[in-house]
């Protein structure tokens, strides 16, 4: 048996986005599940362990920060990457303070997300300070 597949959960209300990203990830050997909102995501993380959860910041119902907090409370070893279309200093601080591994500003080259997920999965669970990424 080869190296264990990295298990990823994509959470975003934009279905097209999660479908495209999951195709890219699956092609690269990740095991991917998708969820459309925060509640569903929490239910799925409760059912099985994911190495990395990719969360959109703005979603109906619970927002990214709330979901992040809840996931970290249940299982601190889960790495979380936040996606946001709207940058602000306070968001950045809150995100990292709540234990996210990194955050990405939309839009971004998908390859970058792939790299980040790989890095997060190999990380021993400690959040790193400077993983924000602005591609432009």
């Amino acid at each position: 048996m080869g190296p264990e597949k990295i298990k990823v959960l994509l959470v975003d209300d934009e279905v097209d986005f999660t479908r495209n990203v999951s195709r890219v990830l699956i092609r690269r050997g990740f095991e991917v599940d998708t969820a459309e909102d925060g509640l569903l995501a929490l239910a799925m993380t409760a059912r099985r362990h994911y190495d990395v959860v990719v969360l959109d910041f703005k979603m109906p119902g619970m927002n990214g920060i709330q979901v992040l907090t809840e996931i970290k409370r249940v299982d601190p070893s889960v790495q979380v990457i936040l996606l946001t279309g709207h940058f602000s200093v306070t968001d950045e601080e809150r995100t990292l303070e709540n234990g996210a591994y990194a955050y990405l500003l939309k839009p971004f080259p998908i390859i970058k997300l792939v790299d980040l997920i790989t890095a997060a999965a190999s990380c021993d669970g400690k959040a790193q300070a400077d993983h924000s990424f602005c591609p432009f």
Partner: protein, 584 residues
């Protein structure tokens, strides 16, 4: 975006109209409540005082006439009494003797000589005895008017007449009964002491007193016009039987050349003469008129003074109000500008967020396609490379969109100011160093006029520098088409903070554009050269830092931007609007 500037213009026009209405209203109020009452009071006092004075003067003239009348009456009564006393105390027999009559004549004239001659006559008008300077013993008086009157009345004082001697004189006579027949004691008066009683009275330069008889013949010589026994200057029709005071206009009698005059007259009881006291009206009223004229002059000066003071103070007031309104207008414009920017910020944030999601989808989709292309397929290599190239171009376009949205976001962002101590002069020096090369190549010199005493204050240095770069860059662009120019950058301490000004010698801004230069996307530069956001961003940065930015411009002469920044109070920093940079 809605343009409220036309609305503001409309408001200002209405304000200006309001100011002029206000002005005229205040003037009218001043007129109604101070000038008009002053005129009314002034003229009432004038009229009242005039009437009062003229009453007093009339009274005075009446008194003068009465006084002199009484004087004349008294004088004539005394003379009559003298004769009566002699007739009563002597018999005809003794008086008939020339020596006795001479003695009596001497007694009567012993003090002041009033009598010129004295005669005793029988009831036929023949002299029985006579003492005097004339030879009248043989004269027959039975036909004379005075003889007839005397015989009829018993006591008689004649009018002034010439008689046999040809000199104006007055005869006083009394009759006395003896043995069924009347005899007469008659005397002629010296006219001088009598005439002196009225002729010597002088009232001012034009005043005079004279006596006339019923027929209007002068009994004394007036000071002016006419002699004794001439016709009196004032016709008798003017006078009534009762005493009175007249104000005569020249129209009322035929002597048109004489001026207006005041005339008081009083009738003597016996003889029936009239005493006239008259004076030129103007002279009599000179003092009254003088006082009145002074008062009128004072009144008019007061009115003029009130008007002048009112106009000056109202003008001043209007100026103050106008200044305040102008300030308010500027404040309103700034408010409109600020709210415009705020709403634009919201819009930009929304747009950016909405665009970012589809962009991410496109990017993700691209990756899927790219991955497909990597699969070993039957596609030929040419198609594959073309597809990949196109996809890369799509990536490029997406990233360009992204630049726009991020710029918009940066423009809209208001919470991310990083506060630090700013040495404004050094901050400007850095910007100038950055711009100097560009300026030099356009033939423009940068002048510094820094206030060295400025102490560092808390602000956002990088945002401020962004503003200064914007302003200086605009100033350089303003010199396009000019061979050389100057940009002056000045700093100055003000009471609550600092003032930074950037003035250029460029083309200036047309007045119509002045109001719009801070509007987002407003630019006069050619397409592709300016985004129209520079001044807008500068404006919002300065607003966020609690300051304000102002522009003055003269077309063709140059433009001056002035930035005022306050020293921020710690409380303002605490309320979370600004974040203090954490020093590590």
């Amino acid at each position: 975006m809605e343009k409220p500037s036309s609305e503001i213009h409309h408001v200002m026009h209405a304000r200006r109209h309001m100011h002029s209405t206000f002005y005229s209203r205040l003037i009218v109020l001043t007129l109604v409540f101070s000038v008009i009452p002053l005129i009314v009071v002034g003229w009432s006092i004038y009229v009242y005082y005039s009437r009062f004075s003229s009453d007093r003067l009339t009274e005075y003239f009446r008194d003068q006439a009465q006084y002199h009348r009484r004087l004349i009456e008294l004088f004539l009564r005394e003379r009559t009494s003298d004769l009566e006393l002699m007739a009563y105390s002597h018999s005809l027999k003794s008086l008939q003797k020339q020596e006795n009559l001479r003695t009596i004549f001497g007694v009567m004239n012993r003090g002041e000589p009033f009598f010129e001659d004295l005669g005793v006559q029988n009831d036929q008008g023949k002299h029985l005895a006579y003492v005097g300077p004339f030879d009248l013993m043989d004269k027959d008086y039975s036909g004379t008017f005075w003889f007839r009157e005397l015989m009829e009345r018993g006591v008689y004082i004649s009018d002034m007449f010439l008689g046999y001697r040809g000199i104006p004189h007055i005869i006083v006579g009394v009759t006395w009964p003896e043995e069924d027949r009347k005899w007469i004691l008659r005397a002629t008066l010296f006219t001088d002491p009598f005439r002196a009683l009225v002729e010597d009275v002088k009232m001012g330069k034009t005043g005079e007193i004279y006596l006339v008889n019923r027929q209007g013949v002068l009994q004394t010589t007036p000071r002016f016009g006419g002699g004794i026994l001439d016709k009196a200057p004032l016709p008798m029709e003017l006078f009534t039987e009762k005493d009175g005071v007249l104000v005569l206009d020249p129209m009322q009698y035929d002597n048109y050349s004489s001026p207006r005059q005041i005339v008081a007259y009083a009738w003597l009881s016996d003889p029936k003469w009239m005493l006239v006291a008259r004076q030129d009206y103007d002279e009599a009223f000179r003092q009254v008129n003088h006082a009145n004229r002074a008062m009128l002059l004072f009144l008019h000066i007061s009115i003029v003074a009130i008007l002048v003071v009112a106009i000056i103070s109202i003008r001043h007031m209007i100026r103050v109000i106008r200044k305040r309104d102008e300030k308010e207008r500027q404040l309103n414009m700034q408010l409109v500008q600020a709210s415009k920017l705020a709403s634009l910020g919201e819009l930009a944030a929304g747009v950016a967020h909405e665009i970012n999601n589809p962009l991410s989808i496109i990017l993700a989709g691209n990756q899927v396609i790219r991955d497909c292309c990597e699969e070993p397929t039957k596609l030929d290599e040419d198609f594959k490379s073309m597809l990949l190239e196109t996809l890369s171009q799509m990536d490029g376009q997406v990233l360009r969109c992204n630049t726009i949205t991020h710029n918009l976001l940066r423009f809209a962002r208001r919470s991310a100011s990083v506060m630090d101590d700013v040495d404004i002069n050094r901050c400007l020096e850095e910007v100038i160093a950055l711009m100097e090369k560009r300026a030099k190549s356009s033939g423009i010199s940068l002048e510094r006029d820094f206030d060295a005493s400025l102490s560092p204050f808390l602000s956002d240095p990088s945002q401020l520098q962004q503003v200064f770069v914007n302003l200086i860059s605009n100033a350089i662009d303003a010199h396009e088409g000019k061979p050389y120019g100057t940009i002056r950058i000045a700093t100055r301490a003000t009471v609550p903070g600092v003032e930074i000004s950037v003035s250029d010698t460029g083309m200036g801004i047309p007045e119509g554009n002045l109001e719009r230069i801070f509007d987002p996307f407003f630019t006069t530069k050619p397409v592709g050269k300016g985004t129209g956001l520079g001044l807008s961003i500068s404006y919002s940065i300065i607003q966020n830092l609690g300051g304000d930015i102002e522009v003055e411009s003269t077309e063709g002469k140059g433009t001056k931007f002035t930035i005022r920044l306050p020293f921020l109070s710690p409380e303002k920093l605490m309320d979370g609007q600004y974040e203090r940079k954490v020093k590590k």
